[in-house]
């Protein structure tokens, strides 16, 4: 009886691992596509940058683990990516968002981000959050809060929006490295 229970438990763990591994492979594939599409939309949003906006530049001090991600577990990478997508979604979909942005560009940009967030949330329910991932998420939250404050201070001027769009495009280029950790 005991041996049968152990056998069932082993089979359950084996199947759960196989299912989760299959889920992360699909997650990685979709994340790559989201990254590529987001970059494309952001390039279109930015367009030409005027030299006058150079005066509006701001060093937002993105967390170092986003610029140079270390080897981390797929659960931590999932949480970090999800936080970044979520903050980007909030930044670009607020009612005070940059007014000069073309809707034909911003809407598919935001819908793609949202769909990827849903995929990430499905995997996040089964993952165990670690202390390191929580620290990274806190730093990310502070980072995006600074961007929001900047926009508010600049009153969502066109140059300020351009600056934020350039920064967001830079962040998605960092996501390429983090996405590769979404695997077994």
């Amino acid at each position: 009886m005991v041996y049968r229970g152990i056998l069932y438990l082993a089979l359950l763990l084996l199947f759960s691992t196989s299912i989760s591994s299959k889920g992360y492979d699909s997650l990685r594939f979709h994340q790559r596509r989201t990254n590529q599409r987001s970059l494309m939309f952001l390039n279109k949003m930015i367009g030409k940058l005027h030299p006058e906006c150079l005066q509006e530049r701001m060093d937002f001090q993105i967390p170092r683990e986003i610029v140079q991600p270390r080897q981390c577990q797929r659960e931590n990478a999932t949480m970090i990516i999800h936080e970044m997508l979520q903050q980007t979604l909030i930044l670009f979909s607020s009612k005070n968002a940059c007014p000069d942005v073309n809707e034909t560009i911003i809407e598919p940009f935001l819908s793609g981000i949202y769909q990827q967030m849903v995929h990430l949330e499905e995997e996040m329910d089964q993952a165990n959050s670690s202390w390191e991932s929580l620290e990274s998420i806190l730093r990310l939250k502070n980072y995006y809060q600074g961007i929001t404050n900047y926009l508010k201070n600049k009153e969502y001027s066109s140059c300020a929006c351009k600056i934020v769009q350039v920064e967001t495009r830079r962040n998605f280029s960092f996501l390429y490295k983090l996405t590769e950790y979404l695997k077994n």
């Binding site: 990254n35 590529q36 970059l39 494309m40 390039n43 930015i46 030409k48 940058l49 030299p51 150079l54 530049r57 701001m58 060093d59 937002f60 610029v67 140079q68 600056i163 350039v166 920064e167 495009r169 830079r170 998605f172 280029s173 960092f174 390429y176 490295k177 590769e180």
Partner: protein, 511 residues
């Protein structure tokens, strides 16, 4: 401003000629605007070449300088080293090490201290550079192909952290009508990497392409190499070479074994076997029997026929003499139908001995020579004829004489120096030629010729007595005359098969 200028103009009309006034005001009123230019960035594999066109009509040369800023930082303008105060309208920018940053580029053209040209451009390298796909080489390998990905050379222009984008390559193997293969290759630092595909279907068309896995750029050129997979030639070649090696090895092994066999059997590399010294004979034509003479002694064999009556008469007389005067002794040995009679006869010369030996001649002294042992030659088994010789009346000198007597067999040998002879004791009488007491009328001396002549003496038995010339010195054989020979037939016939006559009367062998 204009009112003051007009006032000044009117006032100067009174003091300065009109032409000069006109020139002065025109220069003051007109500011040469800064001309803009069209900046064009051509980037290929992160090799950035900036070029511009100026519409300036200035006659003096214009010196251009390229400046840049990064949008995510609050740094001041930076000038590109190789693009400072240049007169050309293009420049290669090598300072953009961070490919994920957005650069703001400003080109200014000065003539002296006057800015005549100015133009700006935004540039995002990772997204705007035209990247070539990874360089690959394809080689057939058995039933698949080997794909070698070459290390990109442009990575030297990038920052270390930026190089991670090019650490992974995806190789796609596509075929018409069949599923494709995706191979992920992790690039090593400054090394080429080779991977092997899954087995491919022969005589099928395949296209192999490689892409950067992590580069977030939509301007990556794609190129694929298409071919028809035919592994037959390669497999034949790959299987033919080891077969050739195996065949050559077997052939070499067989040749080596054959040569060794010939060597062992002595067909080749035969070494002369040194013969024992005992077999080193002098360079003399060998003969069946050699007689080594120290000195030839004349031996007289007296063929004598005595009647029984005479013998009986002399028995009484010679009984006593025989015992003491018997110099002749005879032993006989038989074997294989041959009778070897060892005749010891007294030599004519006391100092010499006549020996007949095979092998080394040994001179025998005054001692009685013993009969050397010799093997009788093989011959038809014939009846043994025993003869017994008795010592002759003359006791002086002893010589031995081997004789091989064979009935019906002939032994002969020809030699210039040697003589071989058979003495049929049935027909001969061995005695001392020097004995004067011997009967003269019954003695017949036979002097063997010196030449090499055969003298066949046929006795009454029909046995042949072969005698040959001795080697220069021949023994003397006393043979009876023909009359005596023929008269002995009856007596000899009687004694041919008889047992050895032990009658030693008179010291003669009598038949």
């Amino acid at each position: 401003m204009l009112l003051n200028q007009h006032t000044l103009f009117i006032a100067l009309q009174f003091f300065i000629p009109w032409e000069l006034t006109h020139l002065m005001f025109s220069h003051a009123l007109l500011e040469i605007p800064v001309q803009s230019c069209n900046l064009t960035m051509t980037s290929h594999n992160f090799q950035h070449i900036l070029s511009w066109k100026s519409n300036s009509i200035a006659t003096t040369p214009i010196y251009y300088t390229v400046w840049y800023k990064i949008w995510s930082t609050v740094e001041e303008w930076k000038a590109v080293e190789d693009c400072t105060n240049i007169t050309t309208l293009s420049c290669e920018i090598t300072d953009f090490y961070e490919i994920r940053e957005c650069y703001f580029i400003n080109v200014t053209g000065f003539s002296g201290e006057e800015k005549l040209v100015e133009c700006v451009l935004n540039f995002f390298p990772i997204s705007e550079t035209i990247l070539d796909p990874p360089e690959i080489s394809i080689f057939n390998f058995k039933d698949a192909v080997n794909v070698t990905v070459h290390h990109p050379t442009f990575l030297s222009k990038l920052k270390e952290i930026e190089k991670d984008f090019f650490s992974s390559v995806v190789i796609k193997v596509e075929s018409n009508g069949s599923s494709s293969q995706d191979l992920e290759v992790e690039m090593a630092d400054k090394e080429n990497v080779t991977v092997t595909t899954d087995p491919l279907i022969p005589n099928s068309n395949y296209c192999i392409s490689a892409q950067w896995k992590l580069v977030p750029s939509d301007k990556i050129q794609s190129s694929s190499k298409c071919f028809t997979f035919s592994p037959s030639q390669e497999s034949e070649k790959s299987t033919l070479i080891p077969v050739v090696f195996v065949v050559c090895f077997i052939i070499i092994l067989l040749i080596t074994t054959f040569v060794k066999t010939l060597k062992n059997t002595g067909y080749i590399c035969r070494k002369p076997i040194p013969s024992p010294k005992a077999l080193d004979f002098p360079p003399v034509t060998p003969g069946p029997l050699r007689l080594h003479y120290e000195k030839i002694t004349v031996v007289e064999i007296i063929y004598k026929i005595k009647k029984k009556e005479m013998l009986r008469e002399s028995d009484d007389k010679s009984d006593n003499e025989d015992k003491s005067d018997s110099d002749y002794e005879s032993t006989q040995r038989t074997g294989n139908g041959y009778i070897m009679n060892c005749l010891t006869s007294r030599s004519l010369s006391q100092d010499s001995t006549f020996t007949q030996k095979e092998g080394n001649p040994t001179g025998s002294g005054p001692k009685d020579p013993e009969c050397p042992e010799t093997n009788p030659p093989l011959a038809d088994a014939g009846s043994a004829t025993s003869n017994q010789l008795k010592a002759g009346p003359d006791e002086k000198g002893v010589s031995r004489l081997w004789s091989f007597i064979s009935e019906g067999s002939v032994l002969s040998s020809e030699s210039e120096d040697c003589s071989n002879f058979n003495v049929n004791l049935n027909t001969v009488f061995v005695g001392d030629p020097g004995d004067n007491n011997a009967s003269e009328e019954d003695d017949a001396q036979i002097l063997l010729p010196v030449q090499e002549d055969k003298t066949n003496l046929v006795d009454s038995d029909g046995s042949e007595l072969l005698s040959q010339a001795a080697c220069g010195k021949t023994p003397l054989l006393h043979v009876p005359s023909a009359e005596h020979l023929w008269s002995e037939n009856s007596s000899s016939d009687e004694s041919v098969t008889s047992e050895p006559d032990k009658d030693q009367r008179g010291g003669y062998l009598r038949r």
